[in-house]
């Protein structure tokens, strides 16, 4: 069982699904915690300027590499204009993906911002 899978469960209850949460066991860098975390979020509102701004500000605080996927598009959420250019609309699903030492915290934080968007 993955160590952090419980943390993702409440999101399932909210209609969001945690896809993966695993230590990169094959990584041979002692002391370097390189984890991958991914979560799908159903948007409660259009991903317009305001939530995109909040997302970009929050994303800049993490050291993990983060991307947000929507259909065939994939952007770095630290770019507010790139996030707006996704044109993601209410009721559709975006997927947050992070890779790095604070991957889970990054995805959980950004998912919360998306879920609380109005």
């Amino acid at each position: 069982m993955y160590p952090n899978s419980d943390a993702a469960l409440p999101n399932t209850a909210l209609g969001n699904t945690a896809f993966g949460n695993f230590d990169n066991a094959g990584f041979d860098n002692a002391g370097f915690d390189n984890t991958v975390f991914e979560m799908a979020v159903t948007l409660p509102a259009n991903l317009h300027a305001r939530p995109a701004g909040k997302l970009a500000q929050a994303a800049a605080r993490f050291s993990s590499g983060i991307r947000i996927d929507y259909g065939a598009k994939s952007v770095n959420p630290t770019g507010v204009l790139a996030v707006m250019s996704l044109g993601a609309t209410v009721g559709t699903v975006v997927t947050l993906h992070a890779e790095g030492p604070d991957a889970e915290e990054a995805v959980q934080t950004l998912a919360r911002i998306l879920r609380e968007a109005e």
Partner: protein, 130 residues
């Protein structure tokens, strides 16, 4: 955030600069000092040396100031101010007015330094809107 980078919006129209400033606050950059230097001192359409100079002073918190012009004489007027008061940390930036301001404000709000904020504003030119 310790000291955010300041942003000055220079436009021929007071309404245009003020409206953009309002938009930036909505996007969550209310922690970033943003000043609108729009129109002439008498309220007409045009640009004002004094308004630009005052706006730069108003948003300067010690971390640098990015100045975004809309077009034409906004550039010339800002250059005149900066020629008279040359400072390495007050920079006139060539970027789309609305998109550049949004990118700069969000980046500054995240605590980025002047170079990163300038980079974000310039990058706005290459991000497709659709």
């Amino acid at each position: 955030m310790e000291h955010p980078v300041g942003i000055v919006l220079v436009s021929h129209s007071a309404h245009l600069a003020a409206g953009l400033r309002e938009l930036l606050a909505q996007i969550g950059s209310d922690a970033v000092p943003v000043a609108a230097a729009g129109g002439r001192s008498d309220g007409g359409i045009g640009t004002s040396y004094e308004l630009v100079e005052e706006a730069i002073r108003h948003v300067d918190r010690g971390a640098g100031v990015l100045v975004l012009p809309d077009l034409g004489s906004s550039v010339l007027t800002t250059r005149a101010v900066l020629d008279d008061h040359p400072r390495p940390d007050v920079v006139l930036v060539d970027a789309p007015f609305v998109e550049g301001a949004v990118a700069a404000a969000v980046t500054a709000a995240a605590g980025a330094d002047l170079d990163s904020v300038i980079h974000a504003a310039k990058q706005a030119r290459d991000v497709p809107k659709l």
